[in-house]
């Protein structure tokens, strides 16, 4: 086997590894949004929070619920309670990146507002989790974000 052939084979192998890693990171989950949401809610303390309707989702994030395959949003009625959990199954052509951007910028803005006068709320907002994985957008501001994140990943 000449040296060219070895280089070609190495290239193909590296390319295959690259594709496998890339696909692994972008795999779409078949999980139902409701089940994912239930798993997350079961993993954290949600006392005082309630599941919100489409209007609240639109009001908070500026998107129509119908733009996505499944939207589950939980928040408090009190404006002083910053805890919230959002699980969105995006589906084809859904504005997933725009939603993630909105979620992040909104959390950052809220942190800017609360850090002046509510250390507890600002501490929660500082460690929020927002990510896009497996065709879902996940956002949580709660006491144990690590547990929420673990539950989300496990449910996918």
């Amino acid at each position: 086997m000449n040296s060219y052939r070895i280089k070609e084979i190495i290239c193909v192998v590296v390319l295959l590894v690259f594709i496998i890693v890339l696909v692994g990171q972008n795999r779409q989950s078949n999980a139902d949004a409701k089940d994912v949401f239930k798993s997350v809610v079961a993993a954290v303390d949600t006392d005082g929070l309630k599941v919100c309707k489409a209007e609240k989702f639109k009001e908070q994030f500026g998107f129509e619920k119908s733009d996505f395959e499944g939207v589950y949003y939980m928040a408090s009625d009190s404006i002083m309670d910053v805890r919230e959990i959002l699980v969105v199954r995006c589906g084809d052509n859904a504005p997933a990146d725009a939603l993630l951007d909105k979620v992040q910028s909104r959390a950052d803005d809220k942190y800017g507002l609360f850090k002046q006068y509510d250390p507890t709320a600002s501490a929660l907002l500082k460690k929020y989790v927002a990510e896009k994985k497996g065709g879902f957008v996940f956002f949580a501001v709660c006491d144990d974000v690590a547990a929420a994140k673990r539950a989300f990943h496990k449910a996918l």
Partner: protein, 471 residues
Amino acid sequence: MIFSSAAFLFAFLPPVLALYYLPLFRNRPQTEIFKKNLVLCIASLIFYAWGEPIYVILMLLSIYFNFTIVRDMEHERRSPRRRKRLFIAAILFNILVLGFFKYFGFLVGTVNSVFSLHLPVVKLALPIGISFYTFQILSYVIDVYSGKCHVQKSLLNFATYVTMFPQLIAGPIVQYGDIEMQLRARRMNRRKFTAGILFFARGLGKKVIFANTIGAVYTEIAALDPDNLGAVTAWFGILCYTLQIYFDFSGYSDMAIGLGKMFGFDFVQNFNFPYAATSIKDFWKRWHISLSTWFRDYVYIPLGGNRKGTPRTILNILIVWTLTGLWHGAAWNFVAWGAYYGLLLLGEKYIYGKALEKLPVIVRRIITLFIVVIGWVFFSAESFPAAAQYLGAMFGGAGIFDGMTRYYLTANLLPFTLMSCSALGMFRSFPISKNKDLRLVLQALGYAVVFAISVVCLVSDSFNPFLYFRF
């Protein structure tokens, strides 16, 4: 990174040009050109990585694989069978890589919907410019195999050819044969550099001042409910898109050609007033010239072109145009758009072409433009049903006028008229002055003003990518 951004204009381009022209090896031309190619190649990788760091790996792998396999092909030139096998392997590699990243999701989605299956769809971001650089690589592989060009022995030169940032993201698609010599030696002088600046300023103006302005009107109209869209508004909307896509893409091509000249390269012309075409065949000789040339040279002619009888010619034309549609995007509306042009070209070739030629030029231009505008409906729509719905509105599905018709027409009539005249080439022979020097000074001043206005627009505008980036 995009050309029409402050980061590119003020943070990226000036230092790259400074490094490129730094006369380190003035007395050793070979070393100097090596240094220039090195600067250009590294700058191009940074340019690409700016938005897509992960896909630089894919591009580098593709470059190295193709460089190696073509050298291997030449190494095996005494064994035609092995050489052919390597050639097929190279073609397959490139098509599979392009196919996987661009069409796999579309294919699985289609299979799922046809057979009611639920195969998992892998959704990967499309590596930017993959359609363009894959076609350039294929041009190299095919040209070397067919003996049209020599094998490139320098990996740096080959990488420079593939990655060259002026045309990496959205063309023009440079065929290897057109640039082979320039990679080894190219003429760089003040005249060429100045011409490059003028080209670039013109392209920037087309994109930032024209395309973005008229594109905003189309975006507004396209967002309206098509069930309540009056025919006049719908026509005005798609005419705005017609102008937007021309100024956007030809602006990008002008900028690419201008940047090429600044670095001493001569790229092929990509647009020649396509909306002034007198037939569809003529339109495709004027629109995205580098793509239609590529398909002619590497698909149509190898398939037999028109040399194997009428049925085979018809089949070849349909194959080429379906592929042209698919090249633009992995969706059925693009396939329909490609097939639409295939059928029209067949019609012109075999049915009504001669009758068309007898009509006055102005009538032929209007007919061609009408056909092209209808084609843009398929091209601009997000899906095939959305295109059908918009077409319905254009032909009076929701009445002739709506509540917004008058507003859109009156608010945008002046820029629309000016841009239409410009796109039709009416300002081409505008008499500036008979004095050559004065003409040059006025031209330079004009482009300086265009550049200044573009920069002001850039500062106030948000992100405005080129339409052709998604291909």
